[in-house]
């Protein structure tokens, strides 16, 4: 079939043959299958509006509209398959690409994203997210960690300790994600592990998003005195999201062990070899 598929003993990922986007994830071991569409979007940074003059900046995330814009509806793809790795290279645009990877024995899907330099020639600041959309009925709930330890339940447009009058439907629902964010319908759980702290949320049922890069053109008048705008052509950033699909009841074991491996990843040191024998004495 024309559907692009990569798999190992535990995971199978399918990609839409027309758009090249991820469209389904299967956990072969636990016999779970979930349509998951992942794509990159960008929020147009606010420069102030009739409701508030607040600008999006280093301290403040404030998109100028609720709906982000797609970086691209489709990706050019390359498929690489060897005995030690299966990967789909997705090229969305000149400043956004991703490699979706599976190694033998791996129980998660690795998404290595590369974003930047974010173009701002159109005069718009951009706040780039990776968003996963599924059919999970999550009832307004999602979960984010606190420094990799405690998992906190988050409810859209709600605060546990005070009656929230939500004035920012997007930014008001963003939370810090230090190592993981997940959504569940009580049966299946979709977890995304991060390799660094990012902002994250679930702005509609079954959806979760993580902010991977920002480039803004205005100062947000909170003290920095300059916009979040790297000099020159701007930075490009590369990172990884590890995606796990599991039964809700045993998902914690999966993401906790994998997150430890991610945070305390092995370090590689190289040498030509053949050095002189060395003994302290």
């Amino acid at each position: 079939s024309r559907v692009l598929v990569i798999q190992n003993e535990y995971i199978r990922a399918r990609f839409d043959p027309d758009s090249g986007l991820l469209m389904e994830l299967e956990n072969l071991d636990q016999n779970l299958r979930l349509p998951v569409r992942q794509a990159f979007y960008w929020y147009n940074a606010s420069t102030g509006n009739s409701l508030s003059s607040q600008v999006s900046g280093a301290y403040i995330f404030r998109p100028n509209r609720q709906q982000p814009l797609l970086v691209s509806h489709w990706a050019q793809t390359h498929l690489v398959k060897t005995a030690l790795v299966q990967e789909v290279h997705q090229n969305f645009s000149a400043w956004c690409s991703q490699v979706v990877r599976l190694y033998p024995g791996q129980r998660h899907l690795e998404l290595e994203w590369t974003v930047g330099p974010i173009p701002v020639g159109d005069g718009w600041g951009k706040e780039v997210i990776s968003r996963f959309d599924t059919v999970l009925e999550t009832d307004g709930l999602f979960y984010t960690d606190s420094n990799g330890r405690e998992i906190l339940e988050r409810r859209r447009d709600y605060r546990l300790t005070w009656k929230l009058n939500q004035t920012e439907p997007v930014a008001g629902n963003y939370y810090p994600v230090n190592s993981r964010i997940y959504i569940t319908d009580g049966n299946m759980q979709l977890t995304v592990l991060t390799d660094r702290s990012q902002g994250g949320s679930s702005l509609s049922d079954g959806s979760l998003e993580l902010m991977v890069h920002r480039r803004l053109l205005r100062d947000d008048a909170r003290g920095v005195g300059e916009p979040l705008l790297e000099e020159g052509s701007g930075l490009w950033v590369r990172g990884r999201h590890l995606v796990l699909l599991e039964k809700a009841r045993n998902a914690a074991a999966g993401h906790r062990l994998q997150a430890e491996k991610e945070v305390l990843a092995p370090q590689v040191v190289l040498a030509r070899g053949g050095g002189a024998p060395y003994r302290l004495e």
């Binding site: 793809t77 092995p266 370090q267």
Partner: protein
């Protein structure tokens, strides 16, 4: 002699909320990066001395800081090299090592001298390739793998032709 104090000092300075959340001016952010980078150098000497002592051989250890963008002059130019993988976790891990290499076939041996499966994968839309092999590393320990180029052989391309989707 190595020294971890400069990196400790830099990490201490970077506990400031501006460093953690990126709410500093650009030149301050650049200086944070400079302090970290300056701290790496003496720490790498410290790590090299520890590895020399623990592995029993005095090597000129190299730390390729740009492996995430497939840049490592040593592995890209040498016909043979050693890969030491240190595992900070309190349990054994299997880890897929990816190293940028020249366009050749390589033989990878584990610490016992046994050849382990390896692959050279071409990176699409770039003219570089990466050597892959799975390393098994003990808890809070390290494993040393040796890599040697097999003369006269070139890696087969594993890329299935690009599929240019129908643009909507």
């Amino acid at each position: 002699s190595g020294d971890s104090a400069p990196l400790n000092e830099a990490m201490a300075v970077l506990q400031h909320h501006d460093a953690v959340s990126g709410t500093s001016r650009q030149h301050v952010a650049n200086d944070y990066a400079r302090q970290l980078a300056e701290g790496w150098g003496p720490c790498e000497v410290l790590l090299s001395n520890a590895l020399a002592r623990l592995s029993g051989s005095k090597e000129d250890f190299m730390f390729c800081r740009k492996l995430n963008i497939s840049v490592c002059p040593l592995t890209q130019t040498s016909e043979s090299f050693q890969v030491t993988i240190y595992n900070p976790l309190g349990r054994k891990v299997d880890w897929m090592v990816r190293l940028p290499v020249s366009k050749h076939v390589f033989l990878v041996r584990d610490p016992s001298g046994t050849v382990v499966p390896s692959d050279v994968v071409m990176i699409p839309s770039s003219d570089s390739q990466e050597l892959l092999f799975s390393a098994s590393v003990p808890a809070l320990g390290f494993s040393i793998y040796s890599v040697t180029q097999v003369p006269g052989q070139s890696p087969q391309a594993h890329i299935h032709h690009p599929r240019s989707q129908k643009p909507w």
